[in-house]
Symmetry: C2
Subunit: 173 residues, 2 copies
């Protein structure tokens, strides 16, 4: 049976071990992330009680780990990025309500755009560098393959494209 109910919805809540497995990490890591402020302290929990998470937290956590991996950020750096994402979520929430004056509305959107732009810049930069590296490697690869083909051409189908056995072939020289 599901551990508990969110008191209002009907999606079965997850315990820290479940969340860990679904996000491919460990409970310790989750607690640690909470400790350093990367994850919000699971709502309304009288210290000592078990943490409960919603399904959405799985995605959130995976996203956090993805950013960490891909961008090689420290948890501290991640925190600032996530703070920005939090802010964007705030904005989305605010914007859903109808009673926001258009001026304020615009302000919020501009802010969100700022956050995204900064993050995008970071990602673009990194992506570009990686692309460069990839190109360089591809170039080298091409050159090597060309040399292999040239070699094969000179010795007229003496050996197949398989990894050559130590067999000796009556060749040039």
């Amino acid at each position: 049976m599901p551990p508990s109910r969110p008191a209002d919805a009907d999606t079965p809540m997850l315990r820290i071990g479940d969340l860990a497995k679904l996000a491919e990490t460990t409970p310790r890591t989750i607690r640690y992330y909470e400790e350093v402020g990367l994850l919000p302290e699971a709502a309304e929990r009288p210290s000592g009680q078990h943490r409960l998470y919603s399904r959405a937290e799985v995605e959130r956590l995976r996203e956090v780990m993805r950013l960490k991996e891909l961008l090689g950020l420290t948890l501290e750096e991640l925190k600032t990025i996530l703070a920005a994402e939090e802010a964007r979520a705030e904005v989305r929430a605010q914007l859903k309500r109808e009673d926001v004056p258009p001026a304020r509305r615009r302000e919020l959107l501009e802010e969100a755009r700022g956050h995204i732009d900064r993050q995008l810049e970071l990602v673009r930069h990194r992506a570009a560098e990686l692309a460069k590296l990839q190109d360089e490697l591809s170039e080298t690869r091409k050159r090597v393959r060309r040399r292999i083909r040239e070699l094969d051409a000179r010795s007229e189908g003496a050996f197949p494209p398989e990894p050559p056995l130590p067999a000796v072939i009556e060749g040039g020289s």
Copy 2:
């Protein structure tokens, strides 16, 4: 004046501090890399004597750090990659000599190709993931910008694209 000469060429050799600055790192890091086997022990140095490096070492070191950063590798992982690059350098050296039989020649080239392919795979994978992330961000950015434009359109040129002042505009409601 240059610290010393390589005994045969005339490019002024670098001391560890110079190398560090040129590669934007610290002497400690260089010594550490040497210690763990990432960098070769600077040639023929009676322990106690100063390390001397050639200009080429600058590029090599920068490349090492670039790989570390971009791929987020541990020094241990880097070591295997660098070992492969070493091997490729070996191959290049061997291939320069004329007296290598074509069979052996081909073997060497295939080996090099293998190394490159493995590295390329790694880089490609990473690059793809980053590209995905970038796309997602770009999408979000588009959506936000669209919402801003829509907002601007509705309130007929009431405010410019500058960050809006807290001035109130006679708007909807």
